[in-house]
């Protein structure tokens, strides 16, 4: 076995997408990495913020409030393909339930329980008019790109989803 196999390892994942399927892939990889003894960080930016947003209206300016109408919470985001105005989301949820796959909120909670660090991009929050109180309590910190790079620089696994 490789002598480096059991060294302290890190994984860092950028979650840029706000699509149900992609966010799901991100949480599956993150929980599995954490379960494998790898210190795991997820960095949520742009559309990815929806994965951590509470189901609340956001924004103060006109544009921010207009954007808010199109932002969802983790239960409301749809698949990247075949969403068909929400029907796809409903269909995929049903199919995943039939196969007893863990739901997105369950995977997110599991990530938190396993100690996955959930970092949020400050700049995305500012641009989109999303405040700390609009996000779930499980968020570890609000940071910038340099913090992500510092994590990624120490990581054996880096992903951009």
């Amino acid at each position: 076995m490789d002598e480096h196999e059991h060294e302290a390892k890190k994984a860092s994942i950028v979650v840029f997408s706000g699509d149900m399927d992609k966010v799901m892939a991100a949480f599956i990889v993150a929980t599995t990495a954490a379960a494998s003894g790898i210190e795991t960080t997820m960095f949520f930016t742009f559309w990815g913020l929806q994965a951590l947003k509470k189901k609340v209206p956001t924004g103060r300016t006109l544009f921010e409030r207009m954007l808010s109408m199109f932002l969802r919470d983790i239960n409301g985001i749809g698949p990247s393909k075949l969403n068909m105005g929400g029907m796809g989301r409903w269909m995929f949820k049903k199919m995943m339930k039939q196969h007893e796959v863990a739901t997105l909120p369950e995977l997110r909670q599991m990530a938190i329980d396993l100690g996955v660090k959930l970092l949020v991009c400050q700049m995305s929050m500012d641009v989109m008019g999303i405040r700390r109180e609009d996000l779930i309590d499980g968020v570890s910190d609000v940071v910038g790109a340099a913090t992500y790079i510092a994590e990624a620089n120490q990581s054996h696994i880096t992903l951009f989803i």
Binding site: I28, T31, T32, A35, S36, G37, A102, L114
Partner: protein, 79 residues
């Protein structure tokens, strides 16, 4: 049958990827170092995944039993 005496058993039946591995990682903490955790799963993917998880974490997979749609794993906690 099993020649291993598990200290604990994890029932992961019905769970799909990544949950059998995730639950195993949590349950192994409740087993004393050197003792054996039995994992029962129905997800066919867990056959490869429990082995991979053992490789990643350094825990020892003592053995595996394949029954009718049910898989049993015997994992010794190493550290």
């Amino acid at each position: 049958m099993a020649e291993y005496t598990p200290e604990r058993t994890l029932d992961a039946r019905g769970l799909k990827c990544p949950m059998p591995v995730v639950k195993t990682s949590q349950e192994i903490k409740n087993v004393s170092v050197g003792s054996v955790l039995e994992v029962i799963a129905t997800d066919p993917g867990s056959v490869a995944d429990i082995q991979a998880w053992c490789k990643s974490t350094g825990n020892e997979l003592l053995g595996m039993e394949k029954g009718e749609g049910v898989f049993k794993f015997y994992v010794r906690r190493i550290k």
